[in-house]
């Protein structure tokens, strides 16, 4: 018996020897004629992205990887325009706003059905809003309380009541005016889902959108197919969209080059030349709605002194950083919000790069010999900062010229955010991508004193700024509102709690066959107009 076992083992090994010799040739043989498989799309667009969706219930997620998928399946009452954050009709074809800005009456499109065959009507809208407002469950609905001031019953809650006046009319009554209310309603998380399926839409989403959910292979692909009964005539043009997870940016680009996928986001700026030089590919630029910045904790020595903050503002050569680390795919920032957003103050003059001025200011503050500090570098690649570590090193070198000795520290992304929130970072790199294209979502969210302990990591508290920002929140008149934001930006510029660094342009690469695709500044867009020739 022992012998036979031994014979078996040895014969396996001998066989394996032959097999090993054969693998090389069989490899070539089997793949020689394989080319036909991948190339013909048949109208299905394959979209490569860096991570899987968390859930397909849009109200419960905050990540772009989920929202890019739900955007195809669900629709919102009002939409952003294809190439801006202006508001256009969506599921609501028109609306009226009362004089005191407290009542919004929406007239809905008629004859729309959810993918499960149930009717979309005023009642469905009410049920969706009730679901979010009454849940009081921050785990489930993270975006709702942050955009509408809390849940039902909270003091700061914006929406008092949502009422169905008839089958096709919904009336929103607000507790206080909210200037960006319509822009908030256009956000992907507040899309309307089929009330019958609330319990299961996280896994099997049911909306009214141009595409219907088909399948989800966890960690791999999500497939949506054309909704033949879509209420907008002749749309969508594609037969379907498949979202494929390929985590590594370079590998994802390899898949685009090979034609295995048609379009990808999260392209490395350094690969720009490769895509531009390939006539089978095209480059898409997503309009910038983000900001990368260097923040100071204004409660900590020596950054409690305005002069020190201004001095450091003079020490950062933004043009250089953009040329070296963004391959030119960014523009220098001078305000704490991007220029595409209404209310941007273009008359502000940025702190020029000048070592002399920095030295002067440091002398004034009593730090002419410089000082030691920790510089917190962004640990992960974000759209507004593809390589935080290297940018930190570049800044470190220029700080040295005035005797500021910066030690670069970093933590993993989870710890980094937690520690910043707790006010532990003295000088830190951070950034923000706008949610709804409104100035409030940058200035109030990031720099108001109300936001200390949340996103105001600088712990910057200025009464004047606070007054302006709160007034702007309830001012409906656009011109007046922009004036308030302009003033706030002037004060913030003078106080310099941050050095705004860049507004980057996120890049996408795709096959040259793609037509009609316009990347939206919010980070996700519908593929309903897109075609593949």
């Amino acid at each position: 018996m022992k012998k036979s076992l031994w014979l078996l083992l040895s014969s396996v090994l001998v066989l394996s020897l032959f097999l090993a010799g054969c693998t090389g040739s069989s490899e070539k043989g089997s793949s020689g004629g394989s080319d036909s498989g991948g190339k013909k799309g048949g109208g299905v667009l394959i979209y490569g992205k860096g991570g899987d969706a968390v859930s397909l219930d849009p109200a419960t997620v905050t990540d772009g990887e989920s929202l890019i998928v739900t955007e195809q399946i669900y629709e919102t009452l009002v939409n952003y325009a294809k190439d801006s954050t202006e508001i256009e009709p969506g599921l609501a074809k028109e609306w009226e706003i009362s004089k005191d800005n407290l009542k919004y009456t929406f007239t809905l499109q008629e004859g729309i059905k959810f993918h499960d065959g149930t009717d979309f009507n005023a009642d469905a809208v009410v049920k969706n809003f009730q679901r979010w407002a009454q849940s009081k469950d921050p785990k489930k609905f993270a975006y709702y309380p942050s955009m509408f001031g809390g849940f039902e019953g909270d003091e700061s809650h914006v929406i008092k009541e949502v009422k169905a006046l008839d089958e096709k009319t919904v009336e929103f009554t607000l507790n206080r005016p909210q200037a960006p209310f319509l822009k908030n309603l256009a956000m992907g998380p507040f899309a309307i889902a089929s009330p019958e399926k609330f319990d299961t839409i996280g896994k099997e989403p049911v909306g009214t959108g141009p595409f219907k959910f088909d399948a989800w292979k966890k960690g791999d692909t999500i497939t949506v197919v054309k909704n033949d009964e879509y209420w907008v005539k002749d749309l969508p043009k594609l037969e379907g969209v498949t979202f494929k997870v390929i985590k590594d940016n370079s590998a994802r680009l390899n898949a685009v080059i090979k034609g295995e996928i048609d379009l990808m986001d999260g392209m490395n700026p350094s690969d720009k030349g490769k895509v531009e030089g390939d006539d089978k590919l095209q480059l898409f630029e997503r309009p910038s709605m983000n900001l990368g910045y260097l923040g100071f904790n204004v409660e900590k020595e020596p950054f409690n002194k305005k002069e020190v903050r201004q001095a450091i503002s003079h020490l950062i050569n933004k043009e250089d950083i953009i040329a070296n680390f963004f391959e030119g795919t960014a523009e220098p920032a001078k305000n704490p919000m991007p220029p595409s957003i209404s209310g941007y103050n273009d008359s502000i003059e940025d702190y020029e790069y000048s070592v002399e001025k920095a030295k002067e200011l440091l002398k004034k503050a009593g730090y002419e010999k410089g000082f030691k500090m920790d510089l917190w570098a962004l640990p992960v690649a974000r759209p507004y900062m593809p390589d935080g570590q290297k940018v930190a090193e570049a800044m470190q070198a220029s700080f040295k010229e005035v005797g500021i000795d910066a030690k670069i520290v970093t933590y993993d992304w989870g710890a980094y955010q937690e520690k910043l929130r707790a006010g532990e970072g003295p000088v830190y790199m951070m950034g923000w991508t706008g949610d709804n294209g409104d100035a409030d979502n940058f200035l109030y969210t990031l720099l108001d004193k109300d936001s200390i302990d949340s996103n105001n990591y600088s712990r910057y508290a200025n009464e004047k700024v606070h007054k302006l920002l709160v007034e702007a929140q309830s001012t409906a008149d656009e011109t007046k509102r922009n004036e308030l934001y302009n003033k706030a930006q002037e004060i913030i510029h003078e106080d310099a709690p941050w050095v705004p660094l860049v507004h980057s342009t996120p890049l996408l690469a795709g096959s040259s066959k793609i037509k009609g695709f316009v990347p939206h500044s919010t980070g996700s867009q519908s593929f309903q107009d897109t075609t593949l020739d």
Binding site: L17, A20, S30, S34, V54, D220
Partner: protein, 334 residues
């Protein structure tokens, strides 16, 4: 042998318990708050607190630990904090993806590694020996990340031979039944898809198998060299036996024990250690699953994911130990 196996299986329980405990403590020692990470940058302080208590993360650690342990004994791996899906349901596709890739990688590593080691030892100090050992040295120290991207660039893009990423052709996806696509495609009778799946396995399998292959080759060589110097080999040769049989029969049999040990260890390591390969090749495996859970501090997924891998790891080791007895009759378990 049977009672030995039973005893060994029994001994797994304290090992796994200890492992669960260490992982439990370690992931809570690293800074970072799951509630904060779920709610994102928009979160308010109140909502973070509310969520923390909803997740039960404000309870003392020992309460959490025994609650988790109690669930485990009932066969409940817990629910993912991030996706709200039971882990036992979520982990399976990831696990099968990894198993399929690891098996292919190991198959490649064993076939090439063992044979290269044998031939190197047989023709010690020949050109083959030198080249093989230099290649093995490079293989051991090759950054998988770089190797994977190079494979894609050269084999897929320049030569246009194999697909760059994924487990199947995305435009003609495989219907998952068992999760092992090689089996699923055959069950569905789709030979074309089966070939497609094999083609998708070659590049990541090679990238993942390179390091174990090199280690196995070196171990086989040194172990063979030792055996081939012994008296019984000289006797075998003296009686006029063909060199091939001397090497592949008498020597290999006696040299196999350390090689099998290394193979067992490497197989276990591949299961959790394929993260880089998975990242490059868009492979939805369990390494990525756990890695992402660490990023979002999804405690139950980290704990249960590692538990699954650890269980397989110790089971493989048990199989290796049992194989010893099969290979070498001098080893007996009582």
């Amino acid at each position: 042998m049977f009672s030995y196996t039973i005893r060994r299986l029994g001994a797994l329980i304290p090992v796994l318990l200890g492992m669960v405990f260490i992982v439990f403590i370690m992931i809570r020692a690293i800074p970072g708050d799951p509630a904060q990470l779920i709610l994102g940058q928009q979160a308010t302080k109140e909502s973070i607190q509310a969520l923390t208590s909803q997740l039960g993360l404000d309870k003392p650690w020992y309460t959490q630990f025994f609650e988790y342990l109690g669930g485990l004994f009932k066969g409940d791996l817990g629910v993912s904090i991030k996706t709200d899906v039971p882990i036992s349901e979520e982990v399976w596709p990831y696990l099968t993806a990894t198993i399929e890739l690891s098996l292919v990688a190991m198959l490649f590593a064993i076939i090439v590694g063992v044979n290269a080691g044998i031939i190197s030892a047989w023709f010690q100090n020949s050109w083959f020996d030198y080249i093989a050992m230099v290649v093995a040295l490079i293989g051991v120290s090759m950054p998988v990340f770089w190797l994977g991207l190079m494979e894609q660039y050269v084999v897929s893009i320049q030569w246009d031979l194999l697909p760059t990423t994924g487990r199947d052709n995305i435009r003609d996806p495989v219907e998952a039944i068992t999760g092992l696509y090689l089996i699923d495609t055959l069950m569905a009778g789709r030979v074309d898809q089966f070939i497609e799946v094999i083609k998708h396995l070659i590049l990541p399998g090679f990238a993942l198998g390179t390091i174990p292959m090199a280690i196995i080759a070196r171990m086989t060589r040194s172990s063979m060299l030792e055996v081939m110097r012994s008296d019984f080999i000289r006797t075998a040769r003296a009686k006029g036996m063909k060199m091939f049989w001397v090497v592949y029969k008498h020597s290999l049999k006696n040299a196999l024990i350390p090689v099998v040990t290394v193979i067992g260890l490497q197989t276990g390591l591949l299961l959790g250690g394929a993260i880089l390969t998975e990242t490059i090749f868009g492979w939805p495996g369990i390494g990525t699953y756990i890695y992402e859970a660490i990023g979002s501090r999804d405690y139950p997924v980290i704990q249960s994911g590692i538990l699954v891998i650890a269980t397989i790891f110790v089971l493989i080791n048990l199989v290796v130990d049992l194989l010893y007895a099969a290979i070498d009759p001098r080893i007996k378990y009582k």
